[in-house]
Symmetry: D2
Subunit: 345 residues, 4 copies
């Protein structure tokens, strides 16, 4: 029997308690301690996790025999806390976005390599069975050549002060697009509006237009200020089209067997004939498992097997790059190129 | 009893037969003739409109006693045909877009003024009872200060060769935004993709970001290449939010009594409190009448009463301006300012 | 070229003008005359069908050279008018329900045989491409053994005085069930409520439970007094389940590849294991054509080819039988057996 | 501070763990022990409720100082276990259905009275904020005179061996109808089908037609064998109509301001004019709280305050009466009258 990995959680905002619950229920992990600056929040965990130690200082973790941490603090603290944990010899799972700067992500990747620790980014959708299925369809060519992706992620709230709507919501869609396309973008143009958050100079509505190699585009609309909750991704390929609707409880994926044949170039209008193909819609049955549970188990497995996570530091960095370029574009009003240091082999 | 206005139709594409049917059924109009270059298409109208004269040359219209024409030919011919008709002393209703160039719209407006003829653009949505109701809500302040509009108009096809998806579909949304906001945009940024229509150098997917005065933004997504047919407009105001869904047969408007109070500017995170308000959703009952019927009747009324149409030449020109700026932006990759000649008083 | 069949329409209520329009647009039919007792209603047809003769007495039809009639008068007049027309040598298409009494249907069938005329019932759904596809699935065993059908047909209005909601709405569902099952029911239990129509002693809400051979049941809910418009038929088979939603503009049929295996009979609770199977949902693409157009064309084809219509007099009679038994059950409060004279060979 | 009520849970099937969790999280209750015949199921609770004693014999409860129990065992054991608990001096909350026989419910009511204990039935929907709001609308006359209720509760599975689909699913709808109408039915007619469960002689599909005083009818359709999960209740009144959809995450209630005026009785068809009224649809915002939490708190409050629960023994008995009559009707094929002993004052 594998020894249980001893886990610490840092940060008790919205997501931390979910991480605590999931690690607590894993067979081969043990939730040893929880850290947060607020004693009030720590207190609230007592009843639910009576066996976990509670502390306001995560630096005490190593002395508790903790081997791995999940960091769910505000984004601007991710780099500092993850760095300290890796240097203290801990495996780290960092919530998205990995850092606020591309260079900081690179530093974490380098550090994890040096210390031989697992560095994982909490891109939960990469552990969502439906998204994995979609990646498979695309990689196996079922949709044909991919033309474009359109993603919508809107609802009313929750407004935050340390990120805008783009940094809050778009990491999901960017991580999904990178993952299913198995590719990384070249440039971003972003535009948006600042309404409720105007006093804070933060955008509550953002539209991103992201260019991938081979002419593939990905358009992301995020909003904290919309009457409808939507989490919908449309993927249009040359053979089929697919819609992923995360709101649907059961029928999350719809595959449309329809398309248009590119008409041959002609000089005269009269000869133009787009050839439309309309076929069945298929809603595949995807066995559902809680993505966060799969993600937590994957973190433990990577630690135990010495393997690299699907959402590793590099995957996290590739999302941060896009967000940084998006922020530059929101200011410049222009398309911004994503510069990437060559990945060391 | 008012004498019946004698009407001619020019163009038997998709829309022309609808115009013919509507004018034919009006009490105070008489469908006298239909013109099209294709004798085959003319022939097909014979059974349905046995009393209408059929001709391949609309220049014969004045000699038939025709007083007013509805022009539903391809957009690039609008200016030439409309100009000829006005100069021949006819009142003209031109399908959207009014022209392909802002200056041409101005020329038509000027000509109509000189000849004292009615010049009307076929922006049908301005005669849609639901859109009129929405304008009333906004003008009466029911939604509060308007923050932004998001419009989606997508489906599979129909691809065209003489316009891209933006010129084909966006005129509806631009005309609606101008109308309900009672305002005209200052700038446009557009981006998109060219997939099926790449050989023709035409965009089949376009995203427009349009800036109106006072920080209001309007974002339009149009696509000829989408598995879902959508015609949805979201309007977010400081008091309420509204969604117009043109696909819904009955429940076209939903008003959400929900919003967020702008939080006061504070230095510390701890004090930040966005105040959310959640209330009822109301789906008003709007008496439905076919918008095109209302539009056709309005054309006749304007002719008889010497009044200016709601969708007059100026309204048509204000849409053309935005499309032209959009086309410039698709090429430049930058936001394009809309320059307007001062409207002569 | 086939000579055009000369058609007369009797009755200008809700359905008559639709029949007139469709026959008018058929290649091998000619709408010769329209009869109605109301001169006002006749007058209203003048503009739309300028070439049709208008009369208040359908007995004039033979003298106009009319060969076939479509009867869309109130149900209680169907028998009398259809009988007169057949005896006058006309082919007849009678709107549903064929008659109010089973014996009257039998008389019409007998008369049509004697006079060698086509007798067709206007069960439009039997010409609906989606319903035909559903029959094919069932007949080919794709759904497995059929367990039951549940049909819902509700909305607000239109209340009528000469029929209750059952006779008005249920003929559609009964004709569909008979057709897709290729079978006829043995008994009916009906119950309902009389609210708005209480003064007239008519049910505005009725639930029918219809038993077919082999334990198949069909449950029909009809209501004139419901906030939602619904036209939905669920068919549950041992292999797959199917939902037909007539309100859906495109996705009318959904086939659910799910089911349960009958558990083996056991004495002990502990051994009980129902085995569930969840699979994909498929929404087939069904090419759409207006059912009434297909129906009208079929009537003409049967006349020309001397063939028997899909919805012949017998099909009409089999629906009347069920409605009659339903009416008896509404009074008796008991299940009513459907007695059938053996069909003469 | 109120002393915490000491709670025991009996039965660890589907519902028991939910009861355990809710009582565990209440401020003024203490989950002391859990009983089940299966040591395996007991074992599985250890991790989640480490402080609760686990036993296979609920008769040990009084010796543990337990004051109140929640019984979530199979229905056929409800009577025996509840009786034993009341006689042992415990307050009891019994899951629905209270018992399998009306007389047994009466016995429990009598016993609870004698021992001065709280007897409560677990009709959760009576603690559902949306259902409470609907009762308020009806009681305050907002819907006008109630005409009828139509309830649908379907999905695929879970099949059970000790009840049919009616006893499993219909208690919800019957308890809701009794509650919102504030009335009890006079008779039931039930019919259904036995397909998967034919070997067990159990109905998996049942339609109930329940008559309340004043001509109000309530129709309940339950099915274990349906491709769609539905939990929908339509309530039609003379002024307004209402639909409750329990599947909807947020918009559970829709109120339709539409209706029909009863036409005056006339002799002639020509004068018949139903007057339709179409108005807005309103989706009220109902603050959501977990109904089971409210129910558990209510049980504790009734114990502490000596008050009678909303879903008391009598409410439970009134549901059992209807189910019993339904079972009789399924056999007799006839409407069955509900006989009620006069309630002792």
């Amino acid at each position: 029997m594998v020894e249980k990995t001893r886990i610490g959680i840092i940060g008790l905002g919205y997501w931390g308690p979910n991480l605590a619950r999931n690690f607590d229920e894993l067979e081969d992990a043990k939730l040893v301690a929880i850290a947060d600056l607020s004693t009030e929040r720590l207190e609230a965990m007592k009843r639910r996790f009576p066996d976990a130690k509670l502390t306001t200082d995560f630096n005490e973790f190593p002395s508790m025999g903790i081997q791995a941490v999940a960091i769910a603090t505000p984004p601007k603290t991710h780099f500092r806390i993850a760095k300290a944990c890796i240097e203290a010899g801990l495996h780290v799972l960092v919530e998205k976005p990995l850092t606020l700067k591309q260079e900081d992500s690179e530093t974490l990747i380098e550090l994890a390599r040096e210390h031989d620790r697992v560095l994982m980014t909490g891109h939960t959708f990469l552990y969502n069975p439906a998204i994995r299925e979609i990646r498979r369809y695309i990689q196996e060519g079922e949709l044909g050549e991919i033309y474009y992706i359109d993603a919508v992620r809107t609802n009313l709230g929750l407004f935050q002060l340390d990120t805008d709507a783009m940094w809050d919501l778009a990491p999901h869609d960017i991580s999904i697009a990178n993952y299913v396309l198995d590719s990384y973008p070249d440039s971003v143009m972003a535009t948006g509006g600042s309404f409720i958050m105007r006093p804070y100079n933060l955008h509550d509505v953002v539209y991103m237009h992201i260019r991938y190699p081979n002419g593939v585009i990905c358009n992301v609309r995020v909003s904290w200020l919309d009457p409808n909750k939507a989490r919908k991704i449309t993927i249009v390929g040359s053979k089929k089209m697919l819609v992923y609707d995360d709101i649907e409880p059961l029928e999350k994926i719809r595959i449309y067997d329809k398309g248009v044949s590119t008409p041959p170039l002609t000089d005269t209008y009269g000869e133009f004939r787009a050839s439309y193909r309309y076929g069945a819609v298929t809603i595949p049955h995807v066995s559902w498992h809680e993505p966060l549970r799969i993600e937590c188990q994957h973190f433990i497995d990577c630690i135990n097997n010495g393997t690299n996570p699907v959402s590793d530091g590099l995957a996290g960095k590739h999302v941060v790059e896009v967000l940084e370029a998006g922020s530059r574009s929101l200011i410049s009003g222009q398309e911004e190129i994503i510069e990437r240091a060559p990945v060391p082999v």
